[in-house]
Amino acid sequence: SSDSIFFYDEAAQARFQREQPWADNPDYFKRVKISALALLKMVVHARSGGTIEVMGLMQGKIDGDAFIVMDAFALPVEGTETRVNAQADANEYMVEYSQTNKLVGRLENVVGWYHSHPGYGCWLSGIDVSTQLLNQRFQEPFLAVVIDPTRTVSAGKVEIGAFRTYPRGYQPPDEPVSEYQTIPLSKIDDFGVHCKQYYALDITYFKSSLDCHLLDLLWNKYWVNTLSSSPLLGSGDYVAGQISDLAEKIERAESQLAHSHLGSFIVAPQKKNEEESQLTKITRDSAKITVEQVHLLMSQVIKDILFNSVRL
């Protein structure tokens, strides 16, 4: 029964395409189910890009209000945040890949695109929002997924977000409540301007019985890799960047605080609240950095006690 999700019902998909229930409701899609294989491929591809943004496409199907992502493939483009339409370079590749898929009996269509934000969190920038709006206009149903490979390593879990944009001019009835995340100072303006133009979908994962069996076989290898690796040493540059960014945020908050103190007769109460919440955000960011460092150090200390304290 766990493998039944992999069955592709062409008739049902064709019916979805005819009825288009998402056309009248911009909030129609609520969930995303990603297969273990697709997740692994996307994360490995994002990680391979290092500090350069990479992108790819996802194949799958629709099931009610959920996207089901069965597989993903990389596109031969890089630096997606620095160009307006990086996807255009890979158009020929995309078309050829999709056609070849059908020939080998792979029936799933492309249902979305993914790209990486190395070190600066899962959200959609202005360029990403424009790209997704275009995709949703001409290739519905379409999903945007963002992966942060750097934070994946330092946090110890996959940093991933799935998003869909609202049409231009649409005002969502309720303010979407999103999980707080640290945004670097250089990206904070881009984040703030566009954050209300899209919403996040809930992500769950699934795997086949064969995936379960293979992952079980790799259990020991996973533990050998985990015990022998040291993210504390490997993520030095990223941590230094985060601390530098935090220092700049403190500088900004401090200068605004100093100005508000001098002009406290003129400053409206709302602005004061904004400054206070800035310091609260900075505190939260510093706590997050510390907690990650402490977790990594804990693993080092435990390994030291376990393996280096054995006396013959």
């Binding site: 941590v239 403190i250 401090e254």
Partner: protein, 99 residues
Amino acid sequence: NYIEDLLKNVRTQVLLKLIKPYTKIQIPFISKELNMPKKDIEELLVSLILDNRIHGHIDQVNRLLEHGDRLKGIEKSTAIDKWNTQLTTLYQTVCHQVC
């Protein structure tokens, strides 16, 4: 016309792959692995260091390549120092507010 450039590219890739796991590598070892004279290895290493493709320096006395950025640890210390300075300023600003 292009053989030398191609050879240099191939040797560069092999060299970078070879020295990746090490912090100190003997130049005679690299020369043996790449099957190249030591003088050519040194020239190649110099050009890669100057191009910033290798972070490290050559110890000609001991015929060693010391791989790894010496400044790597300093970045974190500089960032922490910056944080400390900004905290001091913030603390002073908050204290001024009381007065």
